[in-house]
């Protein structure tokens, strides 16, 4: 250790209270983004996602000719939407893939947000600086979401670019709108899982526990939830033979609504509607309702109206998780 001269020269100890908390928020976000970018975790996830995307794109490109020339399909004029949704059955289309890759992305980016800092002894150091606690969790959330947003917008732009190069067909504005809304929706979906995993990272001290808990919830909703709901419906709903048609529709509606408690169901409802403009309702429709309807694509705003409940449901769930993590974190005692 050298003499104190170094310290006092030009750096007197008089502090100037200039730090404003919003600045601290930006600093934390910057550091978190840098951390994510440098981490192997993000590179692996990125590789996984890009591979899926390329695979899906390849399958859809090789089938695009038949899909677009199918005159029976009212959506056949939307070439770029077809690029995202066409498949020959060998591989699910990209938006279905996202249904289970999105949670993985969100969980992987958030499951150790707080508890790894606590275990490394950096959390207490951070909390001894003039930083608001809520700013810290918000910064963790925002930084990961920024990355996810950049990622998805890059992917869809790449897809549009590749489509332009390969087919030479110019893109319709409504397609751009639909595809961008799809990207935003995906970010919101990932955001839900991200906030859930941040919640677990606050609630559980061990990173492994919080990862397992988040993956458990994810598996429950993707695999078991439908099975459980179907079993319950099978046990509770009377036999079909004695039901009138309206009862049947009612039960069906109820079943769908219960299924919609799962975020993945909300996401797949919403993406299907956005990427397939001819989808006009997400529930069952009676013959009376269908009578007179021309099988034609809906305008963008109408599709948006159809998915609005789904979108707000996802956002609400995200906020709920976030509010609960805020509640848990604000008054917690932090010890190293």
């Amino acid at each position: 250790m050298k003499s104190l001269a170094v310290f006092s020269k030009g750096t007197s100890i008089k502090s100037k209270p200039s730090a404003d908390p919003s600045n601290a928020f930006r600093v934390v976000v910057g550091k978190e983004v840098a951390d994510h970018i440098r981490s192997w975790r993000l590179i692996l996830l990125l590789a996984l996602l890009v591979l899926t995307f390329l695979g899906a794109l390849y399958v859809s490109l090789s089938n695009i000719r038949s899909a677009v020339s199918n005159m029976q399909d009212p959506d056949s004029t939307f070439l770029y939407l077809k690029l995202l949704t066409t498949t020959d059955g060998t591989m699910p289309p990209f938006h279905v893939f996202l249904n289970f890759l999105g949670p993985l992305l969100g969980i992987a980016l958030g499951f150790d947000a707080i508890n790894s800092e606590q275990n490394n002894g950096t959390l207490i150091r951070l909390m001894a600086q003039p930083v608001y606690r809520d700013n810290l969790i918000l910064a963790k959330f925002v930084s990961a979401l920024m990355l996810v947003g950049t990622l998805f917008f890059t992917l869809v732009l790449l897809m549009i670019g590749a489509g332009l190069c390969i087919t030479g067909v110019s893109i319709e504005p409504v397609e751009v709108l639909r595809i961008f809304t799809f990207a935003i929706l995906t970010v919101v979906y990932v955001g839900f899982w991200l906030s859930l995993s941040i919640l677990f990272s606050i609630a559980f001290k061990q990173t492994a526990t919080s990862a397992l808990a988040a993956i458990g919830v994810w598996l429950f909703f993707t695999v078991f939830y439908q099975i459980v709901v179907n079993l319950m419906v099978g046990a509770l709903v009377p036999r079909q033979a004695i039901l009138t048609e309206t009862d049947l529709v009612g039960y069906n509606e109820m079943l769908l609504n219960i299924l919609r408690l799962a975020p993945s169901q909300l996401f797949s409802d919403a993406t299907t509607t956005l990427l397939m403009p001819s989808v006009r309702s997400l529930g069952p429709m009676t013959m009376e309702q269908m009578a007179g309807a021309i099988p034609s694509p809906l305008p963008f705003t109408e599709s948006l109206m159809v998915v609005w409940p789904q979108l707000s449901g996802l956002i609400a769930a995200t906020f709920l998780c976030f509010a609960y993590s805020y509640y848990l974190f604000m008054r917690r005692e932090i010890r190293s």
């Binding site: 310290f7 750096t11 100890i13 730090a19 002894g121 150091r125 003039p130 005692e333």
Partner: protein
Amino acid sequence: MENPVIDLKGLTKCYGSLKAVDDLNLKIEKGEIFGLLGPNGAGKTTTILMMLGLTEPTSGKALVCGIDATTHPILVKRKVGYMPDSIGFYESMTALENLVYTGKLNGIPGNEAHQRALDLMDLVGLGDSAHKRTSVFSRGMKQRLGLAEVLIKRPEVIILDEPTLGIDPAGVKEFLGLIRELSREQGLTVLLSSHHLHQVQMVCDRVGIFAAGKMQMEGNIHKLSQTLFAEDSYSVSITVREPLPALWEHSDELRQVRDVRELRITENLVQIACASDVTPDIVRFFVAKGLDVMGVHKREFGLDEIYQKYFDNNLIENNTDEKSRSIFKRYLNKK
């Protein structure tokens, strides 16, 4: 005690039924180095956390620089540098990046933070390791980096929780010297918690002995020793060649010597506590008994004895201590 920098008023913290800190009152003046001494689990860290607003007191108030730490923690954190006992850094970042990050969090612009960080790394003796990742740092190096981190915001108060843990002896001396120098030159107020008595003794103006959530004693070391050892403030140890039996036949006779209060025999070492300096009389006594005196050592009471005495008196009725002792005994018997 006009305008204390740290002012704790009836601070109490309960964890369930356990009182970790019990009605603590403490005032620390500007520019003072205060040593908070106590055994593990005495509530030192809890007290410090309450001063920083990192945990809420059950009752009472913690005022730092006149600001209530519970209601305005951000204002307090701007003025206080805190070094936790188990310090960690972001391992994927270099030491310099870690420091600059802390600097920026305190609102210091990037290039100034960079400059300050480099200066401070030199100051704490890490100038060569500035660009190394902190994952390769040893415990002692992290501790030094921790001090640099505390200083980068130019605090008015620094709170160090077990600051000398893991530093080599030469480093400890330097480290404490640096803290003392900083306090003297820059008027920094320092609160230091430790269970290393000698180190505390070396730098602190005042110490407080903290046990079972209560401040048992407070004052400078001289004063403490006077109040605690008003009776027997000298201790003489005499080493003889042959081990003495535990029930030495002359022990009662030795107690008759003027001002001798107590004696303890462990093999060939006799420790005698006395009220005045009667070393020559004691030596004469041993010689008269025909024992070969190999060494005579006289000492005044330091913090070690104060501490020892205090906790000896205090912990005797403490069951946990007894329990651990009996476990230790059982372990020894097995061998």
